[in-house]
Subunit: 275 residues, 2 copies
Amino acid sequence: MGGEQAPVAGDGTIGKACDVLDQVAAFARPVRFAELLESSNFPKATLYRFLQTLTNQGMLSYDPDRQTYTPGLRLVRLAHAAWTQSSLAPIARPFLDALSRETGETVHLAQLDSNQVLYVDKRNAAQPIEMYSQAGKVGPAYCTGVGKAMMAYLDDVALDRAASQQSYHRFTDKTLTSEAALRADLDLIRSRGYAVDDEEHEPGIICIACPILTSGGRMLGAISVTGSTERMTFNQLETWVPRVRRVAEQIGAEAQAWRFPETRQSAETDRMQAT
Amino acid sequence: MGGEQAPVAGDGTIGKACDVLDQVAAFARPVRFAELLESSNFPKATLYRFLQTLTNQGMLSYDPDRQTYTPGLRLVRLAHAAWTQSSLAPIARPFLDALSRETGETVHLAQLDSNQVLYVDKRNAAQPIEMYSQAGKVGPAYCTGVGKAMMAYLDDVALDRAASQQSYHRFTDKTLTSEAALRADLDLIRSRGYAVDDEEHEPGIICIACPILTSGGRMLGAISVTGSTERMTFNQLETWVPRVRRVAEQIGAEAQAWRFPETRQSAETDRMQAT
DNA sequence: AACTTAGTTTCATTATTTGGAACTTTGAAA
DNA sequence: TTTCAAAGTTCCAAATAATGAAACTAAGTT
């Protein structure tokens, strides 16, 4: 099952349509037809029809005055379902609240999507805004606490693929810029049970992160507590590790209770005889 | 009413794929292949391939242990872009904050999606009352303040379609349950410039709402202030109408200012005509 | 008015989707 | 264990939808 190498752009019409959605989203601003035509490999007419169809479906939004496309509101509706059903956010919410209150620091809940870190919930040190505007942001996996915490607990096949797909861009002089260096850190993470980000992504930003696992060892996501070097040392931040780990375990246990419990004896009760 | 399908039918492969996404989302829980097969009109093999492709694309998430599908996290990523770029939420945020602070009541920002109300942002009341809404959630248009405020300012063609697509389900004994009754209320809304929801959707919940319009009269969305009959009368709530209308106008003006500057040349050189 | 660029439509060709049916796996009953 | 029905997966010829070069229209520029 699922042993293929084609990264993207496969999957026929649907795959192409998803590519177009990504393209539009990547611009992060209203985008004209000509701009999309340039940034994609699709012929004019083909791209045009994709945009028409996706707009018609509400997956894209079109501004007739400006002649620009943006991702459509239907995605917001669908994502609400995704966030509710398929993310850890609803389960983790009370735990994040508590952790944020106790530490007074920024708390993140993340999951892996296409081998990138997808933040699905967040508590700010300053503002307790609970909107999911923050959710949906993506970041690199190889140089963030949550990213490394998650990668460390992938199975071999998934890890190979994930590790090979990282960009290893040097954000700071502490960024791990090779697969070998990353894998060494992942070994360390597994041995001590938590990950650290010591200014590997942003200067002055440090963080500790723990994976969220099922009892069977399947990796579901990660949580982190982030601090700034201006306000605290790494050792101070690490005092929160036991607490974070405990919260991660609690979320994992809750997730297992909610998502994995098999209640399959529902409709099987009355079985009539059919010959 | 059973959640049967009333999809937009056509649009080829992409439209069908979107239908499948909606179907999965509609279950609001992890769903098995056989359940989807039953609730859709697709042949087995066709549905199977759609699910495979969509899962492969991250638009759906598949749990191999339980053999269930849920909407995928890629939607969350895409929706973040949609929410940021194509909703009024980023523009309206400071205004909602102010309105929420001033009134102390629940404030909603909504837009239309497939002739349903899509809530794109929300501020809770100081004393939160029990209510059904959240960003990304959808609700009926014909019996909510924001819904009627928006419908009242649709153009004739769009209104005809929207009005005919409402379910007119009777939620309370005050719900408008016919297109004629709705249209009469819409006329009233247009004449006074704001909509009310007098316990038409939920008993004890009342609300006033104003449309957000461009200077050209295009309807972009609506905002509302909601209260509870236990804590206030309708007349008390209506004292906020001028304030809400003013905020809606401000958001409309901001939206117009924000949507335009994406072509520097025409935005700066074409200053000849005042609006 | 002529020209340039951006966006839209057409249509014969080609590639993809389609779905009935056969096949394999699963899980539970005999 | 063996048997069986249901659930899930694969196959392939026919049907259909996607394709994209080119022609066309609209909008803006010289």
